[in-house]
């Protein structure tokens, strides 16, 4: 079951999601996690200086018994790693899961990587895993991610008032987002199909 999680390569138009393992941990990746611009809206990593050891424990947590997935977001043509994407909190009883995303390579911000990575995870969650509800939590000032989720049809279901503290000391609201499988299907039928696929294990 754990090994099976390493086999899901998600292929998009410009980007692809490759299972992220210990072998992908690099100084560059750790550098993203410690970058105060990249990590300013991440909840956990910015409170602790990230090292090879902390990152190793984090990555290994994706390959233990609890069902969750971690991918490296890479360029489709060169394979360059530019970020990571996660599908965690998978609950088969409820048919739900929560996504996370970090585009660490800042020169790819605004290049459609977030949208495509989320679309790939949507398809994987709803088609491959058969989930019915996909969730995300963002910080209110994370306008770029809020924009992407709203654009992809997620509904902002609620607000976590003053739930998160920024490095500046300011408290900000959290936004709870969700997309249902039927909403995703309806959007797909209405949209022009894009060339996306999952490479068969």
């Amino acid at each position: 079951m754990v090994a099976e999680r390493l086999q899901h390569v998600l292929v998009g138009v410009r980007y692809r999601l490759l299972p992220f393992t210990e072998a992908h941990i690099s100084d560059r990746y750790i550098g993203w996690l410690n970058d105060t611009i990249v990590n300013r809206f991440t909840d956990h990593v910015r409170w602790v200086r990230q090292t090879h050891e902390t990152v190793l424990a984090y990555v290994r947590s994706f390959y233990q018994e609890t069902e969750k997935y971690m991918w490296g977001v890479s360029l489709g043509d060169t394979g360059e790693l530019i970020g990571t994407a996660t599908l965690a909190a998978v609950n088969r009883h409820h048919g739900s899961g929560g996504i996370g995303l970090m585009i660490g390579e800042q020169r790819y911000w605004g290049q459609g990587a977030s949208i495509e990575a989320i679309e790939l995870m949507e398809r994987f969650a709803f088609e491959t895993l058969g989930l019915r509800r996909l969730t995300a939590v963002t910080l209110a000032p994370n306008h770029a991610m809020n924009f992407s989720l709203k654009r992809l049809g997620f509904t902002m279901e609620g607000k976590l008032r003053q739930a998160f503290r920024l490095s500046s000391g300011d408290y900000v609201d959290g936004y709870c987002w969700a997309l249902l499988a039927e909403e995703w299907s309806a959007r797909r039928q209405a949209a022009v199909p894009r060339k996306m696929s999952e490479v068969a294990p």
């Binding site: 605004g110 459609g112 306008h143 809020n146 924009f147 709203k150």
Partner: protein, 87 residues
């Protein structure tokens, strides 16, 4: 600095003028139906630039909820109108 063109013929629609400047498209071509689906340059990063440009143009500060909802020219106009801004 205001260009000669702008001095001669100021845009009738301030929102269209801002969108034109941010996305590099003619102001005359901007319609209320325009959105990230019709303007490819309108991505997550340029959305932030658009918000900052609108705030500068109209002298207001948008809430995070406003920023989240501004996904078409029509919605931008609606939000500005609700804020009592003449657009």
């Amino acid at each position: 600095m205001i260009s000669k063109t702008a001095q001669k013929s100021p845009p009738r629609d301030r929102i269209a003028h801002v969108i034109s400047a941010v996305f590099g498209i003619p102001a005359e071509a901007v319609t209320d139906d325009d959105s990230p689906d019709t303007i490819p340059q309108w991505d997550s990063l340029s959305h932030i630039n658009l918000v900052l440009a609108l705030e500068a143009e109209f002298g207001i500060s948008f809430s995070p909820e406003d920023v989240m909802e501004m996904l078409s020219v029509r919605l931008i106009r609606l939000i500005l109108t609700e804020r009592g801004v003449a657009v």
